[in-house]
């Protein structure tokens, strides 16, 4: 009999079978959302998903799922069906997501760099911290124009302008015998506060932007440049970035369509679902004022990926998540198709 080997790394692990080909299943705990789809899909019942509520809430130091390496037959179904790629299955070091015969979800999240204005709204909103928008701002000095000059003979080096300057453009040395005043024209925005606050009228300054408008400013220097990066490993395609993007640069395609229903009568507001949801869909609603009633738990379903993690974690069976449509690439294998289709009857 060919035995599997298991190698545990922190809370993740690798299960491997080396024979005709090397089959390897890798579990990444930090990616797992605890939805339990792998557990119900595994044809040999080798997977046990833990209680995600206490694990995420009390930061318990145990893996979110366990796979019995003696039962596992390394078919890779759990990997193919995991909606967030927490399980990666490779054959001879090639991931099945790169092998055409294996079905995979049709899901994506993309940011169009041409359209993106690098506002970083998506980066802040992303519940999985999967987005980074590195950006470089235009130089301030290129966005203003003006003149500034200090009459060193008149200046008494009192330091008032230094303290008042909102952009830290003025540096006054007040030590007797070493007195000096320096103005950094790259920082100055010609706001004229120094000029107005100087007690001895030592500063002459004028803002040209006001009189000449943008006449001698090159607007191409005023552009914020940058790029975008979505970490495919942690992204769950929830749609926050698409929803929040002010210029429609982010596009998300989800693998599931479905419904999310909360039975407010059964809900006891324990908050487990809120803590478990990987997509920040659920929240306790703000009170709408005295003598008004709000639901126990509120939902923003447009961000829901219908993974069912909340339903699984809810201690009072108050949540019902249904998948109505699964989008995946075609495969000739009936058993694999059956498993993908079975998601609709979870």
């Amino acid at each position: 009999m060919i035995a599997n080997t298991k190698e545990v790394k922190d809370k993740g692990f690798d299960i491997k079978r080396s024979a005709e080909e090397i089959r390897n299943l890798s579990f990444k705990d930090h990616v797992c959302i605890g939805c339990g789809i792998c557990e119900s899909t595994c044809p040999v019942e080798a997977i046990k998903v833990g209680n995600i509520g206490p694990i995420v809430r009390n930061e318990m130091d145990i893996p979110k799922l366990e796979i019995d390496e003696e039962k596992c037959v390394l078919c890779g179904m759990c990997s193919g069906i995991c909606p967030v790629n927490a399980l990666d299955f490779t054959i001879d070091n090639k991931s099945i997501s790169d092998i055409d015969t294996y079905p995979k979800y049709i899901a994506s999240a993309e940011i169009d760099d041409e359209t993106c204005i690098h506002c970083q709204r998506c980066e802040v909103a992303c519940p999985r911290e999967a987005i980074t928008i590195p950006r470089s701002l235009p130089e301030r000095s290129k966005l203003v124009t003006g003149e500034i000059e200090v009459n060193e003979d008149t200046c008494i080096h009192c330091g008032i302008c230094d303290e008042m300057c909102p952009t830290d453009a003025i540096d006054v040395n007040r030590i007797p015998g070493e007195e000096s005043i320096l103005i950094n024209k790259d920082k100055c925005v010609y706001c004229l506060i120094c000029k107005k606050s100087c007690p001895v009228n030592a500063i002459k300054a004028a803002c040209r932007s006001c009189s000449y408008g943008e006449y001698d400013i090159d607007m191409s220097d005023a552009v914020t440049t940058g790029s975008s990066f979505i970490d495919d490993e942690t992204c769950v395609k929830c749609g926050w970035c698409e929803e929040i993007c002010p210029v429609d640069a982010a596009k998300v395609k989800k693998q599931f369509k479905g419904t999310l229903n909360i039975d407010q009568d059964k809900c006891t507001t324990c908050g487990t679902c809120i803590d478990v949801c990987p997509c920040d869909v659920l929240s306790f609603p703000e009170s709408a004022g005295p003598a008004t009633r709000v639901p126990n738990v509120g939902k923003e379903e447009q961000y829901c990926i219908h993974c069912g993690a909340c339903e699984r974690a809810c201690p009072t069976d108050a949540i019902d998540v249904k998948i109505t449509d699964v989008d995946y690439t075609p495969t000739k294998s009936k058993s694999w198709v059956d498993k993908f289709e079975a998601l609709k009857n979870r």
Binding site: N51, P54, C314, P315
Partner: protein, 76 residues
């Protein structure tokens, strides 16, 4: 994973009794701070300390543990 109590640590504050969603479902009066009328619930404070009655009903959501100020109730 199982629900456990450490009665030596327990202050008898009863937060877990009220926070537990299963308790509240079985015996809604506990959410008002009253004692339960039935022993069907998971946990109750008795003589100043927490006591487990039907721990097999625990759904393992971790809410009690999150609210307990002294780690007297926990999943392990």
């Amino acid at each position: 994973m199982e629900l456990n109590v450490n009665q030596d640590n327990c202050l008898g504050c009863g937060v877990c009794v009220v926070a537990c969603p299963v308790n509240v479902s079985i015996s809604p009066e506990v959410s008002g701070g009253h004692g339960s009328r039935t022993e069907e619930i998971i946990m109750m404070v008795e003589n100043g300390v927490i006591k487990l009655f039907s721990k097999e009903k625990c759904e393992k959501c971790g809410t009690c543990q999150m609210f307990c100020p002294v780690d007297a109730i926990f999943l392990e």
